[in-house]
């Protein structure tokens, strides 16, 4: 299953059993992409929220 990276446009090969919410790293630009899966529609969205544990 081929999907385009929303940041650099590179084509990303996704395994059939990819899970909703899984984090995929784009090979070419290193962007962290969260899998949004509803039904058979799959979309990749840039993972945004910062983990609080690192901040003060």
């Amino acid at each position: 299953m081929k999907v385009k990276c929303p940041v650099c446009g590179a084509e990303i090969e996704l395994p059939e059993d990819v899970m909703d919410g899984e984090i995929i790293e784009c090979e070419s630009c290193g962007a962290q992409l969260e899998v949004k899966k509803s039904g058979d529609k799959i979309e990749l969205k840039v993972a945004e929220e910062a983990a609080e544990d690192w901040g003060e």
Binding site: V7, C8, S28, C29, G30, A31, Q32, V46, A47, A51
Partner: protein, 354 residues
């Protein structure tokens, strides 16, 4: 198998060059010079390299005239000499047909008047200034490949440039209002003891230095000029902080266009496409660059923070000042100049964390 020489190999940068080249499959260090340690094995200056360079001793090299005999038959020479000493070694090295990576500041700037202003002297070899290529592969990679002379960049200039240039050239920040605040480790000042670098004085410190204009800004302004055509004046203030390695540049400017986080990320992704040592940081697990993530390696972490409320963009880059800021990029330049894979040798040096 290429042969290289390191002139001025007893300092921290010399030690890093030796550390990297020890795992470089296509290059052999034939000569390592040091007046102070002449005749001694390299581990006298670099105890962590004991047993690694079995037969390599420091040789004496005092003047450019001795270059031919001491390093005559190598392919490339690293000049890790103080500023204004390297000045006269470079022409000589080129004369005897060597490729040169000069780690001093003597050939970094293109404009003679910049040497007048920032280094206080009239540059004696203006023609060589033209010939020299500024040694940041992510910006000048193609030119470096064909270069005979590469001027290795300053460490604080490197972190600032890596943070700013992709965004400046994307054209959505106000270049008339750009400041850079750099936090740097104590190894940046080199191995020679001085009061400010004395451990009790440095441990636990956070203090600005050279705050009304640091010479590395000239390299940042030169790079911005090359990539935007604009002649800008940038506020630049380095800070000594309580760590040994690391240079974190935090650059700030105001948006001139309505851009989203994704646009900023795209600008970095486009500029750094295919560059092996740049990691673009955004989101979990750590949203911003940290020098600890690149410690002892040639990697650079680049990130940003858009403050929509203020319309301000913060641009960050974290490097190891001795690696991507000095010896690592010198080897990266060497690889390009000798036609070797850009990350050869360097790819074995993983960041050391925690």
């Amino acid at each position: 198998m290429f042969k290289v020489a390191i002139v001025g190999a007893s300092g921290y940068t010399g030690g890093e060059l030796l550390r990297i080249l020890a795992v470089h499959p296509k290059v052999e260090v034939k000569v390592a010079t040091s007046r102070e340690y002449a005749g001694k094995p390299v581990y006298y200056a670099h105890p962590h390299l004991r047993g690694i360079y079995r037969r390599l001793k420091f040789t004496k090299l005092e003047s450019p005239e001795q270059l031919a005999d001491v390093v005559g038959d190598v392919d490339l020479v690293f000049l890790a000499l103080p500023h204004k000493v390297s000045l006269h070694f470079v022409p000589k090295a080129l004369e005897i047909g060597l490729k040169v990576v000069d780690l001093s500041a003597d050939y970094r700037l293109k404009r003679i008047e910049d040497y007048k202003r920032w280094y206080g002297y009239e540059h004696p070899y203006p023609d060589l200034l033209e010939k020299a290529v500024y040694g940041i592969p992510e910006l000048y990679g193609e030119k470096i490949k064909g270069a005979q002379l590469v001027a290795n960049p300053g460490c604080n200039a490197t972190s600032s440039i890596l943070a700013v240039v992709p965004i400046a050239s994307a054209g959505f920040i106000d270049l008339d209002h750009l400041v850079v605040d750099v936090k740097v480790g104590s190894s940046e000042a080199g191995a020679k003891p001085y009061r400010g670098g004395h451990h009790p004085e440095r441990e636990g410190t956070a203090r600005p230095y050279d705050a009304s204009g640091h010479r590395h800004v000239a390299e940042l302004e030169q790079a911005i000029r090359d990539f935007t055509g604009k002649d800008v004046r940038v506020g630049f203030t380095p800070h000594a902080v309580s760590m040994i390695r690391g240079s974190l540049a935090s650059a700030y400017s105001w948006l001139t266009k309505d851009v989203k986080d994704l646009d900023v990320q795209r600008a970095y992704a486009k500029f750094y496409a295919g560059k092996p040592f740049i990691k673009i940081i955004r989101g979990p697990p750590m949203p911003y660059p940290d020098v600890k993530n690149v410690y002892g390696s040639n990697y650079a972490e680049v990130g940003f923070a858009l403050d929509k409320r203020v319309g301000r963009l913060a641009m960050f880059a974290a490097i190891d000042n001795l690696m991507k800021g000095a010896a690592g990029v010198a080897v990266q330049n060497m690889n390009l100049m000798l036609g070797i894979e850009e990350d050869e040798g360097l790819k074995y040096l993983m960041p050391v964390r925690p």
